[in-house]
């Protein structure tokens, strides 16, 4: 089984003072499910693709269960990004899921299964190393089994 140190980590992070738009760009540019929000090298939060969607659309959308009646895009619902762009990322981030680089793969798998998004932050002695996408983790595990 490969160690986390051998897995391809993505250096996807933004500073605590970043805006929503900064975090959204980092997320889309790196193509990962979550980016770390970092302060002095330590992970203080996580901005995920769900947080991006919540910022792009009205916040009450999550509390609606039925929206198929909106066959066409109502003109009033498209302006949310303009308002959200300059908001601090700290207003949109969530509690991070962090694993130490020395962690066993089984524990990492358990972490992935219990969080709702597909990337965890990998740290070494508390310092951010990079984001581990779930698919990359699964690919590395499969490769190790095949090699073995």
């Amino acid at each position: 089984m490969p160690t986390l140190r051998e897995m391809p980590l993505v250096d996807a992070s933004v500073g605590r003072s970043a805006t929503f738009l900064d975090a959204a760009r980092a997320l889309t540019e790196h193509g990962v499910a979550a980016v770390a929000v970092v302060e002095d090298g330590r992970v203080v939060g996580m901005f995920t693709d769900d947080d991006l969607l919540r910022g792009l659309f009205p916040r009450y959308l999550e509390q609606l269960r039925h929206t198929a009646f909106l066959e066409r895009e109502p003109s009033a619902l498209g302006a949310r990004l303009d308002a959200a762009a300059a908001e601090p990322v700290t207003a949109h981030m969530r509690e991070p899921v962090v694993v130490d680089v020395e962690t066993a793969a089984v524990h990492v798998a358990e972490r992935f299964l219990h969080c709702d998004w597909g990337a965890v932050a990998v740290v070494e002695r508390g310092r951010f190393l990079g984001m581990l996408p779930q698919l990359e983790f699964a690919r590395a595990v499969m490769a190790s089994r095949t090699d073995g």
Binding site: P58, R59, Y60, L61, E62, Q63, L64, R65, H66, T67, A68, F69, L70, E71, R72, P74, S75, A76, L77
Partner: protein, 420 residues
């Protein structure tokens, strides 16, 4: 020991009122303390729990939760908005009455959680402020919920505790005054908010283009869910001649719906708000402690002394006292404490329902006074907060307090003319 019991209860009310700790934790800690320090023993604690109230709440949560999946409530709200044609007066009246009627037959907390998010969307499409509409809905939900035994938690507790009062009794004695109050309050609120509700005709056309039935067409189990919900409401009307408790009716309806319209029972039972159920549970034990220590009898005695045993005096004291108490604390714990007081006031004489209607009107209408006075208000404030459009305590009070005062005057006149 009685001072300790009163102290625990008052402290719990204060913590609930100031929202320092979640109310369910407060109620459970208060109940636990009362048992641990020996205010009431375990046997009496279990006896103090009003299981019919918990059964009725649980049954309705499952029924409404499973029916909500079908999109019928969203359909209703959208059709109402379309029927208004974007005209502010029609929009306010239709939204207020749909909210009031749904509150009466589902319960006001559920109604608010269903209708506020869709109202936020409608307000965005119409390019008007959502706050006036949501405020109208909150106030309408508390007034509409007053009309039936299942409409508002205070009525659920009264109806479950007082065997002599049937679902039909609540309708006959409370629905007309609730309907009248709703009409007066809606007209008043329209006058207050009319300038904020002007709609651009182009925006009104966007509402007309929505297809409200689309969600229903895409849902499973629509007919079954609606049929069971309507059947359960009809059964509520007949529960007295059928000799069935309202809780049995609600749980039977929920069980039937689980059988015929729920693929995954675990998922269906997630609709039950367990924090609310445990809040009630803790509350009943705390009130049991007050009863055990004779505090309820003392309060009832004090009310009797102040009113000189006058029927009118007692009715008015209960109405206004319940409203003030509910406004300051929360109408659920306040009603839980007041039910045994009203029971005690009645003594061993022939059954007189007037004081129960005074309590129901006072607690339910009092729930409109402040943002913390009723569960529906707290829930709506939470939805607004999460939507990024918070409403302040003072702004709510500025509308809620006068509406409550007006409603209570109507209730007082009604009680004096027809009940006392």
């Amino acid at each position: 020991m009685e001072w300790l019991a009163a102290g625990i209860f008052v402290a719990a009310l204060a913590v609930i009122a100031f929202e320092w700790v979640h109310r369910t934790k407060v109620a459970l800690v208060g109940a636990g303390l009362m048992v641990i320090v020996g205010i009431l023993d375990e046997e009496h604690a279990i006896e103090a729990i009003d299981w019919p109230t918990l059964g009725l709440l649980t049954g309705m949560m499952i029924l409404v939760g499973l029916t909500e999946r079908t999109g019928v409530f969203t359909y209703l709200a959208l059709r109402v908005a379309q029927l208004s044609g974007g005209r502010p007066f029609r929009l306010v009246v239709l939204l207020a009455f749909v909210t009031g009627i749904l509150s009466a037959f589902l319960d006001n907390l559920t109604t608010i959680l269903l209708i506020v998010p869709i109202t936020l969307l409608l307000a965005d499409v119409l390019a008007i402020s959502a706050i006036p509409l949501v405020l109208i809905e909150i106030l309408a939900s508390n007034i509409g919920g007053t009309a039936t035994l299942i409409g508002d938690p205070p009525n659920i507790m009264i109806g479950s505790r007082v065997q002599e009062l049937s679902f039909l009794d609540f309708i006959v004695n409370l629905a007309p005054v609730s309907f009248f109050t709703l009409a007066v309050v809606t007209a008043l609120l329209f006058v207050v908010f009319r300038k904020q509700l002007r709609v651009d005709p182009a925006r009104a056309e966007e509402i007309a283009r929505l297809d409200p039935a689309r969600d229903i067409r895409e849902s499973k189990y629509v007919k079954r869910s609606v049929a069971v919900l309507v059947g359960t409401i009809v059964a509520f009307f007949l529960h007295a001649p059928l000799h069935l408790e309202p809780a049995v009716v609600a749980l039977a309806g929920a069980t039937l719906l689980l059988l015929i319209a729920a693929d995954d029972v675990e998922h269906a039972l997630e609709r039950v708000e367990w924090s609310t159920i445990f809040f009630f549970l803790g509350l009943f034990v705390m009130v049991g402690g007050l009863e055990q220590q004779g505090i309820i009898s003392q309060v009832a005695g004090a009310i009797g002394e102040v009113t000189g045993g006058s029927r009118v005096g007692e009715g008015m004291a209960i109405l206004w006292g319940a409203a003030v108490g509910s406004a300051m604390v929360d109408n659920i714990p306040f009603t839980a404490a007041m039910i045994p007081v009203v029971d005690e006031l009645a003594g061993d004489g022939p059954f007189d329902d007037a004081n129960w209607w005074a309590l129901a009107l006072g607690a339910c209408y009092g729930g409109n006074a402040t943002m913390i006075a009723a569960a529906a208000n707290v829930a709506a404030a939470g939805v607004l907060e999460r939507a990024g459009r918070p409403i302040s305590f003072v702004r709510f009070l500025a509308i809620g307090a006068p509406v409550t005062a007006l409603s209570l005057v109507i209730a007082a006149v009604y009680l004096l003319l027809f009940q006392l």
